[in-house]
Symmetry: C2
Subunit: 369 residues, 2 copies
């Protein structure tokens, strides 16, 4: 009979694109004994999770919830806003823009791609031009492209989308909790994220916020949502005042998320963003001193995730393996066009620490010497 | 500024239809610091989770994985085996049979209902008769109906389904780990469960096993799977030898599931099933002594979940509230036709204990006096 031992993993320092390191406080909250998912005490906790999510999304949206799946399930929730034949405009400047096209297409969306080279971002003007050529019911953009490290500026974008009668959906997987995400000020209609990036909570939930225009569109659908599990017309009743049973919420994950959000609430958003900016700046300076160049220009470079081009002649996988094996540091390789050509370094949430920057730079220096 | 306190929930004894009480060992494993989801150490752990899932499902199926969502996401994974226009036969004898119809219909299945009163089960003969009238690509049954407490006998069923060219899908949400589930011996093609029932792991993952016939059908699909997040043609590469990135697995939930499965492995399946049977028998005897009648006849009554009819003149909700408030015991009300008319009592996994039976019976006795 095979023996299964106690868990005995190494003490990793998680500096990749997620998961980031989880605070001991969050781990402890997650290990709290369970109450039932319809227990009045859990329902009170659901309310707090919703309040705290509104705080990090900077929104008053009533329909602000953690979707019961990982960040990818947050993206999949776009199924609520796409019906067969709907025109969808997707900004594609990296891997997750590509995936948005895939997901929207599966739900019958007539997907049109607005393309930019990987690492670039879009202007409001070019989005307007595309919508003048052909309007779209839904315009989907990636706020922080995890595959490139580019940060999409949001000024003027919603205005253009709304003027042309569309809804604006924003992928905030690698931005929420690490850089400003101002859903109401930006007038974004739908946004989602994942817990394991800048929120520094284990993966397993996808924060989602849906504004009034999008709720109205949801209620005006002509067809049922094709995906039962993510059908917001039912889920909004579970997370709303009715508390109608839909599916069993992942209770322990909600314990963890509440604690992770509470940490952000205690730190304060501005202070947290400043911490992410300062540690990223230190990383970039150190990388440049090592002769390593971030791919994205400074003016739209994401502080939470940096894509670094690997110098000619270096086996990027071998360096990553040595970082992991010799220093317990995880960084990631490139995705898509960057496969084998870049490293991705995340400084997100609990992982965004001065000591982590210094350690990584020192380790890289010795491995590249 | 609102104050968010430390988690401070009551010490509930979970005797409803799930979540069941989680072992301290599982809580502790869940709180273990995270490694990355592509870390070689996590990949080794994924292999162990798969082995242990095969052990509880009693199967050799290679494609045996925890789906990254709750039990409902396991049901939703039937999207992999339904294409628009496919004939689907669903056994409807409770709430979850109803839901199977809903989910299959959303993916374009031509759903035919085989109906039985709530609490009844189906015979192989009537399934054969239905398939003779009209064959189905997929036949979906609920092994353990959480809304009624009925246990579907499996003898001869797969034989009939296969003889008529169909695939057999089985909902094992409230059976896996509590009563025998013999996927290979019964020749079931697709089965799924949830973690928060008889596995006594927090909710958040859905064990799924897919046999060779169903894998073949998956690879022969004419259309893409409509649901990106649950698309097994991609997920099998993440959980297979290729380990291709699809989505980030819920790492901590997999830690928890591994430990919950390890507990089952240590206890042994036969001993575990016997424990569930013995505690259920004690519960039933005690309920009858209190004049309370389980709804389902003994010959197909589920040991893990019992539906008890509430005597005339008793406010079922008030009793449940008092059980919770005065004794910290959670049981559930009825679903669907049983709403307001029945209690549902679960003795699942770690909750299936002699002391829980005695305590619940004593508390009920004093509240009904």
């Amino acid at each position: 009979m095979k023996k299964y031992t106690d868990l005995n993993t190494s003490a990793r320092i998680l500096l990749g694109p997620g998961p980031s390191t989880v605070s001991p406080r969050v781990l402890r909250a997650m290990a709290h004994p369970l109450v039932g998912h319809l227990d009045p005490q859990f329902i009170a906790l659901m309310n707090e999770v919703q309040e705290l999510l509104r705080f990090v999304f900077q929104t008053e949206n009533r329909l602000t919830i953690p979707v019961s799946g990982t960040g990818s399930a947050g993206m999949e929730a776009l199924c609520n806003f796409v019906e067969p034949g709907d025109a969808v405009l997707v900004g594609v400047n990296g891997y997750f823009g590509e995936r948005l096209c895939d997901v929207a297409g599966r739900y019958g969306g007539e997907v049109r791609r607005l393309e930019r080279p990987w690492g670039d971002v879009f202007t409001a003007e070019e989005i307007e031009k595309a919508l003048q050529e052909r309007p779209a019911k839904l315009v989907a953009l990636v706020h922080a492209e995890t595959s490139t490290g580019a940060l999409q500026p949001m000024e003027g974008i919603a205005d253009v989308v709304h003027r042309h009668g569309g809804l604006l959906l924003l992928d905030c997987v690698t931005s929420l909790g690490g850089v400003p995400v101002n859903i109401d000020a930006w007038d974004v209609d739908i946004a989602y994220s994942g817990t394991q990036k800048c929120l520094s909570c284990p993966p397993g939930l996808a924060p989602l916020t849906v504004g009034p225009r999008a709720v109205e569109a949801l209620h005006q659908r002509k067809s049922r949502v094709a995906n039962w599990y993510l059908d917001l017309t039912m889920i909004e009743k579970y997370w709303g005042s009715e508390r109608t049973y839909h599916h069993t919420a992942p209770i322990s994950m909600n314990y963890a998320l509440r604690e992770a959000l509470r940490l952000i609430y205690e730190e304060g958003l501005e202070k947290r963003f400043e911490r992410h900016r300062a540690n990223a700046a230190a990383l970039w300076k150190g990388l440049e001193a090592l002769g390593l160049q971030p791919h994205v220009p400074l003016d739209h470079r994401l502080p939470t995730l940096t894509t670094v081009l690997v110098p000619e002649g270096i086996d990027e996988g071998a360096i990553r393996r040595r970082l992991l094996d010799e220093y317990n540091i995880e960084i990631a390789g490139g995705l898509g066009i960057f496969k084998g050509r870049a490293w991705r370094i995340g400084l997100m949430g609990y992982s965004s620490r001065r000591e982590n920057v210094l350690l990584l730079l020192s380790a890289l220096e010795s491995l590249l010497a």
